[in-house]
Symmetry: C2
Subunit: 233 residues, 2 copies
Amino acid sequence: MKDNVNRPFSEDEKSGLYRAIFERRDVRSQFLPDPIPEDVLARLIEAAHHAPSVGFMQPWDFIAIDSVAVREQVLQIFEQENEKAAGNYQGDRQQTYRSLKLQGILESPINLCITCDRSRGGTHVLGRHSIVETDLFSTCLAVQNLWLAARAEGIGVGWVSILDQDKLAATLNLPEQVYPLAYLCLGYVSEFLPQPELQAKGWRSRLPLTELVHGNTWGQPVDNIALSEALKK
Amino acid sequence: MKDNVNRPFSEDEKSGLYRAIFERRDVRSQFLPDPIPEDVLARLIEAAHHAPSVGFMQPWDFIAIDSVAVREQVLQIFEQENEKAAGNYQGDRQQTYRSLKLQGILESPINLCITCDRSRGGTHVLGRHSIVETDLFSTCLAVQNLWLAARAEGIGVGWVSILDQDKLAATLNLPEQVYPLAYLCLGYVSEFLPQPELQAKGWRSRLPLTELVHGNTWGQPVDNIALSEALKK
């Protein structure tokens, strides 16, 4: 077992990890109705459960939502919030905003809410003394594990962030201390787009990486020339 | 390109992704001093940069810290905070706490602070209207991308969460609106442990997955028997 753990990744194994990272998309429009086999869904949740968590607190729970009635309620919450959000933009930008599809709540065969129980592990969770939000951060890491595993399985994931969290918590009957961190739509897709939809539609561009890397302190150039060059590729 | 994107993952490619997820560790004690080649480090940062972000805002920056002077200042901040944290435990539990190694700031060849610029993308970032913390959540997803890519490259990562964020921000000279979300230690390792250190040392156990999955709303059983069975494996 231990030897196996320490075996270097083969080129194909590395490629699988990098493909998942670079070819992952936030899916809204390409969902197929086909159900996800239970063993595959369990594997995705297991992947999320193996995320790192502060003090090994594992603050996450998973609510698997196939009920159309529950999803229709969530869709209503989305629509109310999205109407408010659209009001932030004017003219052409609002037109573009309204043309974007921002959720696939009913088109996807299953939704998954990943929550964060802020009281799990008791009062003194190791490593959480200085930054209390580390439980939320840990739950995000679980989301990304699931998102990447889904990509490797050919399953698209869309994170619906335009929701009133209090209303969502009420709909899902969450206890007071449980925060609905991520509301995800999951399903097989007709295709994964070659680039993020917001980039393809001209909403925003990918930032050049060289502008985002600093050396030792903020705003200082990276004084390692080989690293600077490698970041330009 | 597009066809390539939609090619199913081979078994080896899937295995690479799942190995990275299941064999990833939070490393503190096994760092080797060997430097990380610049092209590998650039690849890890590129992986982080391809995380999903709300409204494609890409709120992250990366501060690559090899300066021993800067790292010694960060270590001092850790030691102050860790002394306070240890005071939360009594008796045997405090003994165990003090025996745990919780950072590899100087032993690892390079530290990387991944920050979140809370003002990036202006006032109205698409999808961030309802939940303002989605910028922090996006940055966490970037952390996990980097962590998994590092694992595939044989590089260990340790997240140091026992830090006073204000002091850390001052040390790294961060602008007011930039939050130092994750302070990471990176380096090749003598070995990846077969299980999380906190589990191996009896600090806390992994929770049974079946207790963490709910059906449609909180506290309801999963009424799909095949899924329940699959979660037990």
